[in-house]
Amino acid sequence: MPGYIVKDEKTKNPVLLDLRELDIKYRIPVSRIEKFYQALDQGIIMGTKCPVCGARFFPPQAWCSDCGYSGEMEFYPLDTHGHLMTFTKIFAKPKSFSSFGDYTVGIAHLDKEDLNILAWIDESIQKPEVGMETVIKVEKRKEDGATVYFIASP
């Protein structure tokens, strides 16, 4: 048998082990929401507001999906006070997160903005509960050094 034909560990069926390997890393343009990342670096979470109809967006976007306006959207700091809508702790992790410990993801409702944010729940919340009071905090994540926003205790 050629070397690339191997036996499946469980079933012993012969499988062809692909010699080609694909490593994909995307380059995602963010020029129209660059202000969001500049503010994030200062610890501020920005949403966008439509100057025509007043619609608010998070994630931030550079056009208005509500009224169709496509001029300059207004970037503004979100009032992050709100409450936890739901959460889950991820045990079976994807390959690119396999070096992380188990992490808890939640969705918080920002009460004044009437917007939701999905993020990890940080260590200030040991026992998450639906309905508990929350804020959003920007932190440098230990595991990968990335500047990320978290759902946190006020």
């Binding site: 994630p59 994807p94 390959k95 999905l118």
Partner: protein
Amino acid sequence: MNRVGIIGYGISKFGKRTDASMYDLIWEAGSEAIRSSGVDKKDIDYMVVSNMGMWSSEELPAVVAGEVLGIKNAGLHRVEAACASGSSAIASAYDAIRSERSKIAIAVGIEKMNEVESETAIELIGRAGNFLWEYEFFGLTFPGYYALYATAYLNRYSGKEEDLALVSVKNHHYAHLNPIAHFGNEITVEDVMKSRYIASPLKLYDSSPITDGSAAVIMASEDIAKQYTDTPIWIDSIGSNLGTANLSKRNDFVHIEAAREAASKAYRMAKIDAEKPYRFIDGADVHDCFSIAEVLAYEDLGFAERGRGLDMLRNGETYIGGKIPVNVDGGLISKGHPIGATGVAMAVEASKQLLRKAEPGRQIDVKNGRFLTHNVGGTGHYAYVTVYSI
């Protein structure tokens, strides 16, 4: 009216099929569909293939399927609606026939998920939704998305993880009577409760497995269908709707709006009373990729009132003989969920049930002659509800 009917179907064995390539799986389902319909493959003029891909090496599975089945003179395309891709393939073939662009069409659903190891499959399916805002930094997984629904639902309606486990117990029961199912073992609530957490509160036995499989149907316009069979399975209605890419843009996590909209459209078109749909249909296949999803389906389809989905399980109302049998093929949890094949597999199950050809112990009582399928893509990103009749 130019009705559209299914005149033949085929389905492969579902499972971790290390014995079969994508080509083999397509052949298993597709050749059976063509043979059972009695059509000459030269007369198939339209072909649609549903597949999500990424985890399988072939980039153009539709052309692979055409070649495998020896189809030469048909229009061809591939469709993607995540886990509802199969139902979108049925919809596409239906539209082609209704518009008279096609007389005889084949819809093939195929997914070969186990060409990559499970960590990579978890990665690829986790990216489905909104990659930039919900995956890149937060690594949400497919079970994770549904777990967000489960946490909110159990909290709102005071449900327990043990209640959700009843979905898996029922569906494993029926899977063990279905020879093509991924799993063949019966399980108990205790087994589910003892299984490890995947994304809390969902555990391994609350989850559909990573499955390889294929399903295919031959569809034809009414005049043509009647030349081949006295009992075509008619498609009475198809309702579909989209949902937001970002889960965070949903208003609540106790129902799936896209599925509710799709159901309402399908009921209207099939003239089914949306208040009591279970009086008009004999059974249903619903999208139980995770246990919580079956509970949401009961409510989004109007089988149960809001917040009463768990009661249906506690009272055994979705077993054969109950108010409405659901997922008596084993559902996605136990029959398996080869993403792009699932919706077509549901059409196969609808056909088998309405023709009274289901295996002993899992044949529903056909009284109204109608069967419903509910197929949700992603986490309520796409939804299809289809009503079949005989």
